[in-house]
């Protein structure tokens, strides 16, 4: 019996401490104190302190939208000034960009990778401008009555700007019911924001991939914040505004690290129970793990090839649809590639960006022209890894002046050089460049382009977050493209690993050889002894 006690004691001596260690260091129970506090806060929906339908000044029958603005500003006297200084109205921002100095860039004058740019196309593009009448360069940005208040503040969901009307709604009997709209005004609703922010680029989810109609009806699987079966939050719950300056930046058009909206603002930098996850937040943005895929409900445009535009079938323009009903070719725009449930690409980003301007030279030694550049690298302490949608395509550029081209795409009437009506590249380029005005050599060609669009929405439930192994893996991990740092599980030093393996092999060989000689020599000794 006694002979068993020692092994048992020993077994216990090894197992017991391990048990203790495991118990002491076991994962804590999920404690979502902060999350519950946030849930409680955002569950309470804001009730307006004012009923605009009771104001006498709003009782009249408005025939002209400028009158609405005048009525608004008669009480909200300073708001006009605020809005005229906000990006929703100016479509540009003052920013310092290294190498350029102080710049005034925005949708107003930047090139994008979709419809390429607004200049010479204002009549159509300004359907999404918070103003009335930005038809061309003569638009008066200093006239407060040019502000469109109701496009954002309409709560009826019936206000709509007309197509090709430079920001004006339809007027007269066909137009929206202004009286009902002004009676309902309040904080912007998500659907209103979505009119432009979901539909930009010519259709739902064309541009962003993470901003689309699906957010308005989706559940927690689509977006935990806006989920109809969850908190059902509004855009402006996070994108708060102070003096009409909204929080949140979009770096296809922004450049500076200010006025940003971060998950950490509510969730703190260390929201996880597990310390090891909190450690990540110094180099990894929340979105990187918590938005494993975007375009969860409807497809988004991943590729736009302008070079194939203007083709005709039987002398007429035509369209090709895929099985889901997405346009994959149209004569006026070229070839498209759509995708759904897309895994983002990943970049280091420190909150600053640069843009390829119409006046910049195209570097033809580079195969691809970056429409915008997100700055950041591992060694930069302000940089974090973020998920991005990279929108690729081909755009026309001036083959002699080596500048990117702004073509005239839209006009009310045929024969004025608009590409979408006349399907004539040369003419549309001449018209577009003359409008800006910028020189055009008369020779255009096409260059591959990329635009980098940070993905911030469509946050998945925690259980669906990106798992460790998806990045910490030797080959083809999500972060395989970011090679400027060492990541455990992905990286190794080949020389060190080889030396280590060699050390182990030599040790093992040494043991084998040594024990073999011992075995042989002991047999010899035994033989000698037996004699």
């Amino acid at each position: 019996m006694k002979s068993y006690t020692k092994p048992i004691t020993f077994f216990l001596a090894i197992v017991a401490p391990l048990l203790i260690v495991t118990l002491v260091l076991r994962e804590p129970e999920p404690d979502h104190e902060l999350l519950n506090a946030l849930r409680a806060k955002y569950a309470v929906k804001r009730k307006p302190g004012v009923d605009h339908s009771k104001f006498e000044i709003l009782q009249k029958n408005f025939t002209n939208p400028h009158e609405i603005t005048a009525a608004c500003l008669s009480c909200h006297t300073e708001r006009g000034e605020e809005l005229m200084n906000s990006a929703h109205f100016t479509w540009e921002r003052e920013a310092f960009i290294p190498g350029r100095g102080v710049t005034y860039l925005g949708k107003k004058n930047l090139v994008n990778n979709f419809c390429t740019g607004v200049q010479s196309n204002e009549g159509s593009c300004m359907k999404c401008h918070a103003g009335y009448g930005w038809n061309d360069k003569s638009f008066d940005f200093s006239n407060p009555y040019n502000i469109d208040c109701v496009v954002c503040h309409d709560n009826t969901g019936t206000y709509e700007k007309a197509s090709g009307a430079a920001g004006y709604p339809k007027m007269g009997p066909e137009g929206p019911d202004f009286k009902a709209i002004v009676a309902s005004v309040g904080q912007p609703k998500s659907a209103g924001c979505g009119t432009c922010h979901f539909g930009g680029g010519g259709g739902n989810n064309v541009k962003h991939g993470d901003l689309e109609l699906g957010l308005l009806t989706g559940g927690r699987d689509v977006d935990v914040h806006m989920a109809v079966d969850g908190l059902n939050m509004n855009c402006v719950d996070c994108h708060t505004a102070e003096n009409h300056k909204m929080k949140g930046r979009y770096y296809a058009v922004s450049s500076s690290n200010t006025q940003r909206l971060n998950c950490e603002d509510c969730h703190t930098e260390t929201p996880h129970q597990q310390n090891i996850l909190n450690e990540h937040s110094i180099k990894v943005a929340c979105q990187t793990c918590h938005i494993p895929v975007y375009a969860k409900v409807n497809a988004t445009k991943m590729y736009w090839d302008w070079a194939t535009a203007t083709r005709k079938k039987d002398g007429k323009e035509f369209e090709v649809l895929d099985e889901d009903g997405n346009i994959v070719y149209t004569s006026i725009k070229g070839d498209f590639v759509w995708d759904k449930m897309v895994k983002p690409e990943y970049l280091w980003f420190n909150g600053t960006a640069d843009h390829h301007l119409l006046t910049d030279k195209v570097d033809t030694s580079q195969n691809i022209l970056k429409i915008n550049t997100l700055f950041g690298e591992y060694r930069d302490r302000d940089s974090k890894i973020i998920p991005v949608k990279v929108h690729r395509g081909r755009q026309p550029y001036d083959a002699e002046n080596l500048t990117i081209i702004q073509a005239k795409l839209w006009d009310k009437d045929k024969g004025k050089g608009a590409l979408w009506l006349d399907l004539d590249w040369e003419r549309s380029i001449e018209e577009g460049m003359a409008y800006i005005p910028l020189p055009y050599s008369g020779k255009h060609s096409f260059i591959k382009t990329e635009m980098f669009m940070p993905v911030n929405h469509m946050v998945s439930p925690a259980a669906e977050a990106v798992t460790c192994k998806e990045c910490h893996t030797r080959d083809n991990g999500r972060l395989a493209g970011l090679t400027d740092f060492y990541m455990p599980g992905r990286d190794r030093n080949r020389t060190l690993d080889l030396a280590g393996q060699l050390l182990l092999i030599l040790s093992f060989l040494g043991i084998v050889v040594h024990s073999a000689i011992r075995a042989l020599s002991s047999r010899k000794h035994n033989t000698i002894q037996s004699h």
């Binding site: 001596a13 260690v21 060694r379 893996t473 030797r474 060492y486 280590g500 182990l504 043991i511």
Partner: protein, 227 residues
């Protein structure tokens, strides 16, 4: 001829410490190389969890072991000596094949031969501290980088990672050789038995100077059991 004497060589804590350390090093190495993507067993996430738990267990064990070594004076076992170092090396290289006796006597006061002293000291003051420190930096690299004290910011995990990996290879090689050298006691299993039970047959202490070489020919074919 020296007589054999059953001696209680390894105390309870010593054995507890030794075997837990063995287990922890095994667990750490196994999960560590999985984290290194050398193979797939637990899955990366679980491997990291186990590795970190085991690391804390190891650190706690080390604290106790240091306390034990200091209070019992056992740390003196690791004071390096060059005396008989060559003889010991020659024993492993040649003598052992001729069934020569161990050049140093294992006694209570001097349990370790000169080579063991050197190797174990190296482990204790160099390799294990390197692993612990680099491991902790791995775990907590964000905190030095809290930016409050810029000079201790860690700008690159790579150096830490490579040091940790290199240390792991060395420790693993040590374990391999150590496992083999267990069999080089008086009998194949006498060392193992001693570390399990604490008791070992030691040659009688008939002289004060424990480090005297015993190279006399009459010891060549003494009562040592044959391998």
């Amino acid at each position: 001829m020296s007589k054999n004497n059953r001696v209680y060589v390894y105390k309870g804590f010593e054995r507890f410490w030794h075997w837990n350390q063995a287990l922890l090093i095994f667990v750490l190495a196994f999960t560590g190389f999985e984290i290194h993507s050398s193979y797939d067993f637990f899955g990366f996430e679980t491997a990291v969890k186990i590795h970190n738990y085991a690391a804390w267990g190891f650190i706690i064990l080390i604290v106790f072991a240091i306390f034990w070594h200091v209070t019992t004076g056992e740390w003196k076992q690791y004071i390096p000596t060059t005396k008989n170092l060559k003889a010991q090396a020659e024993f492993y290289l040649f003598g052992i094949f001729r069934n020569a006796p161990h050049p140093t006597k294992k006694t209570l006061i001097s349990k370790l031969n000169p080579l063991q002293r050197l190797v174990y000291l190296g482990l204790k003051v160099l390799f294990i501290p390197i692993m612990v420190v680099s491991g902790l930096l791995f775990m907590f690299y964000r905190y030095p980088q809290g930016d409050s004290i810029a000079i201790i910011n860690i700008d690159n995990l790579e150096i830490i990672a490579l040091v940790h990996t290199a240390g792991a290879f060395v420790l693993l090689a040590f374990v391999l050789v150590h496992l083999y050298l267990i069999t080089t006691g008086h009998t194949i299993t006498s060392n193992l038995k001693a570390m399990i039970t604490g008791w070992e047959d030691l040659e009688e202490e008939d002289q004060k100077d424990q480090d005297q070489p015993i190279g006399k020919p009459e010891n060549e074919h003494d009562e040592n059991p044959k391998i």
